[in-house]
């Protein structure tokens, strides 16, 4: 039993949902009690997907536990196929259903369904979200991928077709997966390599069936795609990439690797460039030198971010860690190369403690580290899932490839520039424009308007200003801070207009009603 305040990963069935939701024509029947449907909001609210995840929850209740939960599952599966007409069905249990041991796989088999059924065994009390996503993708591929038909040997030699590859690993709810896929597809295309299938994101069952036909696989997210890529290598002799194209140097290495796999020439260095590279070299970036950074996230993003931080930004990595236990070995090795010991944990309190001890100048982490950073007043940028709604931006913002390197440069430097600005404010604290009462400049000039009112006018207004009664002031204090200023202004304006000299609780609410729109 473990005390948990926040968790980095959800349960493994949420990982399975990320696969099903990413795909076009797969449905997931999840044996689960009422309440587990909360997971839908991850996709519809955090990722803002315009459709419901393709998941049917059996929604059993306490009174069902006596007998017919299995029947409930069978009905739900039958109805889901009738209504949604998927090309393949995933079936499995959430944590509670795992305890009642109804065996959704066996039950679904007994239904003799007209489509492929993939039973998922995702041990909820042992494994977590990324493992669940990886295992689901793997089981789906094992069930669906077809042996490539051998090409008939022709008498005349044809011109060699463009080499092909698959992109493996992107899912729903992934950190920038949508944009990474676009960026890497463009990069591969520019190298003369064709992307055959991207999976599971936007893939259909028919796409999965033809995975083995490509020349090789590109593993974008090892946490999710590695198990499947290894199996495809064993089963069909398809090689796969080891280098993840996160960062400028890593992207160059990735280009070398895919060009070798595809047997195409490597473009010259000037064709492989990024603004980030020059910006990092430019003189104004000198102040970045030796900034102490702390990294935490999934294994892939942390290992790659450490390389960017150290080699491309000139930072000093003072600590790093991951919640991906499955990749602990890789992260430990990476940490060793910076003379550090990796923190392998899913305990957010342990991460917070390490950060307090190290007092870094920049935290590169997840949504959780953003909370920690905010509390400790340390600049922070997000480099890995779990992320929140603001990390699904409307604009194109990949992390991978050369454009990804540019996005990362901007994202990491931004909180530090803000820090520099605060520093300047501190230096000029006694200056009339930067006095202690002035709002931080990044809030815009409007916030310092009060300071610009000529003294005579200010005095005149003050004489007309109604005074606040103690009770009204107290009542105002109960209004949430983010609208309190507006409430105060509106009430004072109302009092002025109405010729009220003392603002009472009633005036406050009269004004509220007056301005209520």
């Amino acid at each position: 039993m473990q005390l948990t305040l926040w968790t980095y990963e959800g349960p493994p069935h949420v990982g399975a949902m990320r696969i099903a939701t990413a795909m076009q024509d797969v449905h997931y029947v999840l044996h689960a009690p009422q309440g587990d449907t909360y997971a839908d909001l991850l996709f519809t609210m955090i990722e803002r997907l315009p459709k419901r995840p393709p998941v049917t929850y059996t929604t059993f209740q306490a009174r069902d536990l006596g007998g017919d939960t299995a029947e409930l599952f069978k009905d739900a599966a039958r109805l889901a196929i009738e209504r949604f007409q998927p090309a393949a069905l995933l079936v499995g249990s959430s944590c509670t259903a795992e305890l009642i041991q109804d065996d959704p796989g066996g039950l679904a088999q007994a239904l003799n369904l007209p489509i492929p059924v993939v039973p998922l065994e995702l041990p909820s009390y042992q494994r977590k979200e990324n493992w669940g996503a990886s295992e689901t993708f793997y089981q789906l591929c094992r069930r669906l991928v077809k042996k490539p038909t051998p090409q008939p040997t022709e008498a005349r030699p044809r011109p060699r077709p463009r080499p092909t590859c698959n992109l493996l690993g992107p899912t729903a709810l992934g950190f920038r997966h949508r944009d990474d896929v676009k960026e890497i597809s463009q990069l591969l295309d520019s190298l003369g390599i064709e992307v055959s299938v991207v999976a599971p994101l936007n893939a259909s069952v028919a796409d999965i069936e033809k995975l083995a036909q490509a020349d090789f696989n590109v593993v974008l997210y090892p946490e999710i795609g590695m198990t499947t890529a290894s199996w495809l290598a064993r089963e069909f002799g398809q090689p796969f990439t080891k280098q993840v194209p996160l960062g400028f140097n890593a992207t160059r290495d990735f280009v070398q690797e895919v060009c070798a796999l595809a047997q195409v020439p490597v473009p010259s260095a000037e064709h492989l460039s990024a603004n980030a590279r020059w910006y990092a070299q430019s003189v104004d970036s000198t102040y970045l030198t030796g900034k102490r950074v702390y990294l935490f996230g999934d294994a892939t993003h942390v290992v790659c971010a450490a390389r960017i931080a150290s080699q491309e930004m000139g930072f000093e990595v003072v600590g790093l860690g991951t919640y991906s236990r499955e990749f602990a070995r890789e992260v430990r090795e990476c940490a060793k190369s910076y003379g550090l010991e990796a923190l392998i944990t899913d305990d957010y309190l342990a991460v917070e403690e390490q950060i307090s001890q190290l007092q870094p100048e920049l935290i590169l982490g997840t949504q959780m580290e953003r909370h920690i950073a905010k509390r400790q007043g340390i600049p922070c940028a997000v480099i890995s899932a779990p992320v929140h709604v603001q990390d699904f931006p409307a604009r194109y913002a990949p992390q991978m490839g050369f454009e990804g390197a540019n996005v990362i440069f901007d994202t990491w430097v931004h909180p530090l520039m803000m820090g520099l600005e605060e520093h300047l404010l501190g230096m000029f604290r006694q200056d009339f424009e930067f006095h202690a009462g002035a709002a931080p400049s990044h809030l815009g000039s409007g916030h310092s308007a009060a300071a610009e009112v000529p003294p005579q006018l200010a005095a005149k207004e003050a004489s007309n200003q109604a005074t606040w009664s103690v009770e009204a002031e107290k009542e105002l204090g109960k209004i949430p801070f983010f609208v309190r200023g507006k409430a105060r202004r509106n009430t004072e304006k109302y009092a002025l207009d109405q010729g009220v000299s003392t603002i009472t609780v009633d005036t406050l609410y009269d004004a509220k009603a007056h301005f209520s729109r």
Partner: protein
Amino acid sequence: MSPVIPIRAESGVGCTDVVPLVERGQREVFCGLTGIIWLHRKIQDAFFLIVGSRTCAHLMQSAAGVMIFAEPRFGTAIIDERDLAGLADVHDELDRVVNQLLQRRPDIRLLFLVGSCPSEVIKLDLSRAAERQNQLHHPQVRVLNYSGSGIETTFTQGEDACLAALVPTLPTHPTNPAKPAKPNSETKAPHELLVVGTLADVVEDQLGHLLSQMGIEVHFFPPRNSQKMPTLRAGMPFLLAQPFLADTAKLLQDRGARHLAAPFPLGLEGTTAWLQAAARQFGVSQADFDRVTAGPRQRAEKALAVHRSQLQNKTIFFFPDSQLEIPLARFLNRELGMHLVEVGTPYLHRQLMAPELAWLPSGTRISEGQDVDRQLDRCLQDHPDMVVCGLGLANPLEAQGITTKWAIELVFTPIQGYEQAADLAGLFSRPLRRRQKLAA
């Protein structure tokens, strides 16, 4: 006794005898654990420890989102393989986690062990655990337990279970009169009223102020601090501030308190009728009632008019969520002129809801429980002007051109009482106004 204020003339019994459309299927609602999100903000020295799975912890942080930057006063003791396989004694493990927690948070005076689906299924006896831990930690910390599991509770029922667990701990007044207080001022019975159900502090203060101006002393349950639990008296009258507290109400009645039937304090009319139930109980004169409420009522009336022009004759469809649906539908229909297409509720408690049902237009389609796919079919078929639904359904419906209002906001926002009546209306008029603006 005649009503203190003439309430709109009734034309029959409304939906009193309604036969709801009862459905069974996939439910797109939260479980009772979610109530912790507002309960822990209310009782400021309480900690809620869920005994459950990673799913429970993930639900809590997904539902609470980033609202809480500080260390929250809730957490999950995640059951793992070793506990299930019997390699570790679950009770020993739970004691260890509780010790760890209390060492970390010495400010905690009330600890709830909250049962979940997994803890219920493995029949983990949390009442025994709470009893044992009370022996260790009381009086510094009182330990109680309740279940917020999805197999037993829906969303707001979690608060009902929590308050029901507190009721047996409420102190009784030492000079407990044997006979119940008479409902008039001639007896010596104090004018004490209990208001039951979590309200925002600002709403409590407003309602408390209005009632105290009528000479009624109000105690709120749950209180803001566990050391300030209200004291019960035999025959003490209580009003429900929230519609989902059936078990709590029953336990209070078992302890001799008396429930005052009333509509819920949503909207101008609901708030007036709710206050009136208390005024009637304590024999407050109509003149006094008018004197106290006239100002706020006029303000609310004026502020509501703006929203009425935007909501009048618009159609609305409620998916089940918090059990607030029926009082909300009543407010939107009677005070703002909206037409009710369907009013879904997770559970229909006829007795507590009787005054509300009587105020709904007869023939209103009321549904209880849920089969979300079939309900979505009906909704798309009806194509209402606005849908009230959970977070999982809102964006998919918006993408199909249907204006929605997140139901969860109605639980987290101060919406009760006169001063909030227009805010409540605004929660419905804003999405419609927004769609108009974006379409222009």
